[in-house]
């Protein structure tokens, strides 16, 4: 346990060069981490910026995790690697898919919610590992290298909104496919006295769109707030006085551990579980 703590502490300290660099500018502001420069200029606004680079990296890591843990050399005599893969699979099946999806729809939608869970977990986790993907550069022996920085692609609203939109579209497509359009939209209308209907129906329709907002903003704000907290606490050293060093390192490490141990996994699980529940409730509206 102590070894792990030391390793995490060292990882946190690696963020320092980035912050020191930022402090050399006229003003330190953690929000500058969210001003993106274009790295590769592509047409139609498909430019590659920092979040896009993180997304590509996250996709590769997710694919590798899936292939290495669950596809390569799996057999009846499980190795430790296979045991980890089976654990992830079991969480995705028992905790996420079976909680929300009706039995007949698990075969079709389990891959989607499981991928969602693993993908968001990987992206969130990459956000807390200092990686040399940063807009700022540091001079090492005459070569301009990007500084190590922590940044999560999920702390930008576009990424989480795109993920939430997928769930939103799948929910209604699947609802119409399973029930027929008329029956599905009728299921939105609850059984209340007729006089209340003009008030209730707009609320129900609004509620469907509020799901989109709540799903995306929950993940986005969690990751944004986590990163802002860590950056602000370490940035206090440069903003005020070097004597706050012990306080800000202890507080920053505490928040870092809280984010890595609890928030990252919980948010990935919640996003996938809510997607499963939404899709499941569209397939069987009565429940």
């Amino acid at each position: 346990m102590r070894k792990w703590l030391l390793a995490l502490f060292a990882l946190g300290a690696l963020v320092f060069p980035a912050l020191a660099q930022a402090a050399e500018d006229d003003e330190f502001d953690p929000a500058h981490e969210w001003d993106f420069k274009t790295w590769v200029d592509l047409p139609f606004g498909l430019d590659i910026t920092k979040p896009v680079a993180y997304l590509i990296l996250g996709t590769i890591v997710t694919c590798l995790l899936g292939i290495v843990l669950m596809r390569v050399k799996v057999g009846k005599d499980p190795t430790r690697r296979q045991a980890v893969g089976e654990m992830i699979y079991e969480i995705a099946q028992v905790q996420v898919a079976e909680q929300g999806l009706p039995t007949k729809a698990i075969g079709r939608w389990f891959p989607y919610v499981a991928t969602l869970m693993l993908f968001i977990w990987v992206i969130n986790m990459l956000g807390f590992i200092p990686l040399p993907l940063s807009d700022e550069t540091v001079d090492v022996g005459g070569v301009q290298l990007p500084t190590l920085a922590i940044f999560a692609a999920t702390s930008t609203l576009s990424v989480t909104l795109a993920l939430a939109l997928m769930t939103f579209v799948f929910t209604h497509v699947e609802g119409i496919r399973a029930n027929g359009a008329v029956k599905y939209f009728k299921s939105w209308i609850p059984e209340v006295p007729k006089a209340l209907l003009p008030m209730i129906v707009p609320l129900e329709i609004l509620g469907q769109f509020m799901r989109l907002i709540s799903l995306s903003v929950r993940l986005y704000a969690n990751m944004l707030a986590g990163h802002l907290l860590i950056l602000t606490f370490i940035g206090l050293i440069f903003l005020t006085h070097w004597a706050v060093f012990p306080l800000s390192i202890v507080a920053g490490t505490a928040f870092y551990l809280f984010e890595v141990v609890i928030v990252v996994s919980i948010q990935a699980y919640i996003f996938a579980a809510l997607s499963a529940i939404y899709i499941g409730s569209a397939i069987e509206p009565d429940h």
């Binding site: 905790q95 903003v217 929950r218 704000a221 969690n222 948010q267």
Partner: protein, 87 residues
């Protein structure tokens, strides 16, 4: 020290007011979520104490409730940040 703070506040009165409003908004949001989280975990402890064999099933529901309640703070945060930047 204090007087310099007041002078700074007088110069940047609008910004100071916005900062106080932002902090107050998030703080009040956190108050409600704190009560809610206490309720969730308190009920979970009671439920597991009464029927320990249900722990596995309840854990999933507990974390679902945790995330739903916790998100309220962050709606406050995002609303506050938006107001801080836009107004």
């Amino acid at each position: 020290m204090l007087s310099s703070l007041f002078i700074a506040a007088a110069e940047d009165g609008a910004d100071a007011g916005k900062a106080i409003a932002l902090a107050l908004g998030i703080g009040l949001g956190a108050l409600g979520a704190g009560v809610g989280l206490g309720n969730i975990f308190g009920s979970m402890i009671q439920a597991v104490a009464r029927q320990p064999e249900l722990r596995g099933e309840l854990t999933g529901i507990q974390w679902l409730g945790f995330a739903l309640v916790e998100a309220v703070v962050f709606y406050g945060l995002i609303g506050g940040l938006l107001a801080f930047v836009l107004i």
